[in-house]
Subunit: 212 residues, 4 copies
């Protein structure tokens, strides 16, 4: 079965002289354009060929940096989430009181989703359907994030600033749900929201509900 090769070898394959690409930049560039394209057209709607073209790399290179297309999305997500979690951690430093920390948590979340529509869209709409997501590092990060909020709620209960009779899970649902609805309207309709105002309003409602 040597035939196929034979055919290819018939003519010498000459291409334009290629220049090397600094590898690290390249990976970042791919992640950047992939995020933009995924944001614009969804996961299924974006082809690896499009990503490669937009990043100015040959298609084969994509698969050197990322084993599969799916690995690529997860890599985009992970990078963004990690940046966000670092940011969040910094934001929460030096803030006292569970409620104040929850307020900051909400603010940071809205602030980030506002700037990175990609995270909102993919976390809410795309990856949830992918069973692989639940084994991914991105999911781990989100789990921890989730637990962070649960932790803050319980902290509040312990320190007495949050009523002991609230159901922490439902509180989390309401907070995440409120954020998600707010962000979603924007993510889908391009109807931008004001982070400070939304934070104030969401906290206004939620705190009145849970304050001791």
């Amino acid at each position: 079965m040597l035939i196929r090769r034979v055919c290819r070898e018939g003519g010498t394959v000459k291409k334009k002289a290629n220049k090397r690409q600094p590898s690290q930049d390249r990976r970042e560039r791919i992640l950047d354009v992939a995020r933009a394209l995924f944001e614009e057209k969804g996961y299924q709607g974006t082809t690896t060929a499009q990503i490669a073209a937009a990043a100015g790399v040959p298609e084969g290179t994509l698969f050197e940096d990322f084993r599969t297309k799916r690995d690529l999305v997860f890599a985009v997500l992970e990078r963004d989430i990690e940046v966000y979690l670092d940011f969040l951690e910094l934001q929460l430093r030096g803030i006292e009181g569970a409620l104040n920390r929850i307020r900051k948590f909400i603010w940071s979340h809205l602030y980030t989703w506002r700037r990175r529509r990609f995270i909102a869209r993919f976390l809410i709409l795309e990856v949830r359907q992918d069973p692989g997501y639940y084994q991914s590092h991105a999911h781990d990060l989100m789990q921890r994030y989730n637990e962070d909020l649960m932790g803050l709620i319980k902290e509040g209960i312990e320190e007495g600033s949050i009523r002991a009779d609230v159901n922490a899970e439902m509180v989390r649902n309401v907070i995440f749900g409120g954020i998600e609805q707010t962000a979603l309207h924007w993510a889908l309709k391009e109807d931008p929201f004001d982070v400070d105002t939304c934070t104030k309003e969401l906290c206004g409602l939620v705190f009145r509900a849970i304050q001791a």
Copy 2:
């Protein structure tokens, strides 16, 4: 308000009343099996061939009743939403007081999503990415549904049962968001929720936040 439902109540729900009966049955059958398959394997994961086979109709027939596969999903959604809205309207009859009506609204929503995982999954995860959705009748129905809740909230403010200083939009966000988070955990993890308990907990939180 929910008036529009009332209007359509006079006649039986027949869209193309002149179509001969076998066709009508067939259409329903297709919608039924399509819903089941979409629920099980998602939109992309379900082929028109599978739907046709399961419905016992030739593949070409699908495209007589529905111009495209996308139209078919939307039709499934529309039918379910319409059934739901009829149900909701009935549930709300004879209930006095905005808060009581909102409670019933939440309960109905959770109750229905619990029984029709398809609506939850597709409304939250699939159709939102489809620009066509925003022109579809399904979206119109959801819009009006949305406005219904807004109406109830404003009603409450007017009748004095809800604080005048709440932001109605954010209240709606918190309510829908809370519902969605609750339903989502279930839709994705098969972790069933109890409708009555969840209603009670969600209302407990929300009402404490908005009660005058």
Copy 3:
């Protein structure tokens, strides 16, 4: 994940008015051109696109008639082998004596391979590497064919026309091997052989070796 479809649906896809193709003819035509191409360029060297183009059918049609490319080769082989076995059976009728029957067997084999280079090439060179071959109907047929020759040899021993001390397996090896070498030189070098002469010479040698 409705996006991809959406994109495709954007423009109406209009093609040249297609004419129907009588299905049975088509299958045969595909088998014919596939045989020719496989013969010319081997299995790996032939693409499904080439086969489809040569047969004048759209590529998708190939996969309606044959589930996979591999199924297609086996189908070509099976058809040819079946035709050959029918032919052989007819040739052997009314011939008395194991040696005479073996001579006819050899002659038929050479005669057919001479006309159907494809069988020679694929049976000797290509399918043997394919594990799937050993489960295929084509292989079953060849097995039976093999056993037929072994049967004739044993028959000869029983009737006393073949020496009892020969190793039947090696006799078969020598016969098939002799045929194969003869056919192979031709199959590869386009150096045609004369069926009658080769039969005479091969039988001359072999019979002198095995005759009682």
Copy 4:
């Protein structure tokens, strides 16, 4: 005749004697692992990356020693065939009589194929399809090998030990064919054959056919 071998015997077998040693080792190592991999997974089934990795050389190095992957297979073949021809030449020394020499020829052939399944498999199944093979040194060697057997047959005719009326070509076909069939069953089915027994049986048949 086998004379040519004798000529090369004076010096050790060094082709590019001026090459520095490490390169020579490397080349051998590559040939060794390539043979093992080709044997195990066939030509198409083996990637140059795998070969490079197994040989512990960078991929680029492969293409310094061998212009293409195809050149590499041929090189493996050539080396094995050369080793075999040297071996054969040695085996035939001091044997008198064409039939005795042919017997040794057959034995050596079977003995070698038995130990180097690679040669059997590639010569019978893979390279024959490659038009490049017929220009390769490996093919030259096999041609000469072929002619060697033809020479022995003619020798036998001249010395009167082989009947003058046999067709030398068909004798060769029967001998090679018999060997190939025997080896093939083993190469494909892992059904090992006994070299001495097979030699005896094959010679038993063939000699009875051609003995004067």
